[in-house]
């Protein structure tokens, strides 16, 4: 039996607290930090290994509590960091299935879906092929799964989600808002209308300055290990939904 009621015979309840003391026996003690990255993309949108590199960079910074902003503190030795590749919404659901999730970050393609004359609802384009369950969105076609697939009870009440992808908070019904409506926790996304770029400059990657033309003209070198994904226009700042 657990203080929070998250015993194995019942669905885990949302918990709040500074450390891994939510349960006594038979329950996970750690809080889970989960970083997922989607498929690279195809054609001109092929990001190769860059989403993975940005996810790994973010993981290192989160574990060192070195990423600026209102990010939950990572407690070394007790909290668990998981970085994993996903190609479907089902894989995302599986990743958060460990429960007691305090932090979820997504690196990958995202943005609005085309409507009749302009942007429609937003989506995470997790999978690069047009296959069932490859998009997270409320649109509702054969390849889409809605945010309601993500179980809200796997997240702690003090959890947050950050979307590192193009236009996650842009458009009339951005995916960041769709996820926030479902999970009832803060979901952060970029509201910039432009696409995103990869940078090896940590100051820029942390939102410490605006994008310059040299940043635009300088893609990461082949041997880059620390890489950040930021929106192209303006200073990279997250909007909370």
């Amino acid at each position: 039996m657990c203080i929070s009621g998250c015993n194995r015979s019942q669905p885990p309840q949302r918990t709040v607290g500074p450390g891994p003391t939510d349960c006594t026996t038979g329950c996970p003690l750690q809080r889970n930090f989960i970083i997922v990255y989607g498929d690279p993309g195809q054609g001109g949108h092929n990001a190769g290994r860059l989403f993975q590199l940005t996810a790994n960079t973010h993981s290192r910074e989160i574990q060192a509590n070195a990423f600026p902003g209102n990010i939950p503190a990572f407690v070394a030795g007790t909290d668990i960091m998981t970085v994993t590749h996903i190609s479907t919404v089902a894989a995302l659901v599986s990743a958060v299935g460990v429960g007691n999730v305090l932090y979820l970050a997504y690196f990958g393609h995202s943005g609005p879906i085309g409507g009749q004359n302009g942007p429609g609802p937003g989506a995470l384009f997790i999978g690069e092929t047009a296959s069932p369950g490859s998009n997270l969105t409320i649109r509702g076609n054969a390849n889409d799964r809605p945010p309601t697939d993500i179980p809200a009870n796997k997240f702690r009440a003090d959890a947050q989600v950050r979307l590192f992808g193009c236009r996650g908070g842009f458009g009339p019904d951005p995916i960041a808002r769709q996820m926030a409506d479902q999970l009832r926790i803060p979901v952060y996304g970029y509201t910039n209308s432009g696409g995103s770029l990869f940078t090896t400059d940590s100051t820029l990657g942390h939102g410490g300055r605006a994008v310059r033309q040299t940043d635009i003209n300088t893609p990461p070198p082949a041997n880059a290990t620390n890489v950040w994904l930021i929106p192209i226009n303006g200073s990279p700042t997250f909007t909370r939904f």
Partner: protein
């Protein structure tokens, strides 16, 4: 009394039907042309060229093949379908900057290539027939950037697309 009431209702109904019919056939209100035109747009070549020329106003592209465009000008161009193809092919060698940034700054020729690939949904890229193999250095968009900056690369892409749209 009830019979008279029914007659009144019938007369009102008849008047409304006749009024509707008159409005439909009346030359004052060209309803037929409105209905006949619905969903049909047969642009002249000049109109097609004008719409394609708005490629410089496109600010963003769909980031997944098969997904509809969301930028209003990209939507208008792709709605033209294959009518737009010759004009898009002409722009493949245009190296002037566009408003699009999707992982890298797109030249107008890059936007034209993306819209052609969207219209034809070709499995190969950047040439529709797979005749152009981009040397693999990074395994991502950076390889394309190196390729298109090499001498004659955009001409090769244009040539392959020109042949493709003539034969498909």
């Amino acid at each position: 009394m009830r019979c008279i009431s029914h007659v009144k209702v019938f007369l009102v109904f008849l008047i409304l039907v006749l009024l509707g019919a008159w409005l439909y056939i009346s030359p004052l209100v060209r309803w037929q042309s409105l209905f006949a035109g619905a969903g049909q747009f047969n642009p002249t070549p000049e109109q097609v060229q004008g719409i394609v020329n708005n490629i410089s106003l496109v600010v963003g592209l769909s980031t997944k093949q098969g997904e509809p465009q969301w930028d209003e000008h990209a939507i208008q161009i792709t709605k033209l379908g294959r009518l737009a193809a010759p004009y898009l092919v002409d722009k493949l060698t245009d190296e002037s900057p566009s408003k699009v940034f999707e992982l890298f700054p797109y030249a107008i020729g890059d936007v034209a290539l993306a819209l052609l690939a969207d219209i034809y949904q070709t499995p190969s890229w950047p040439s529709p027939d797979g005749s152009i193999k981009i040397p693999k250095i990074h395994g991502d968009f950076r390889d394309y950037l190196v390729f298109v900056k090499s001498k004659g690369a955009r001409e090769r892409i244009k040539k392959s697309w020109k042949y493709y749209i003539q034969t498909h």
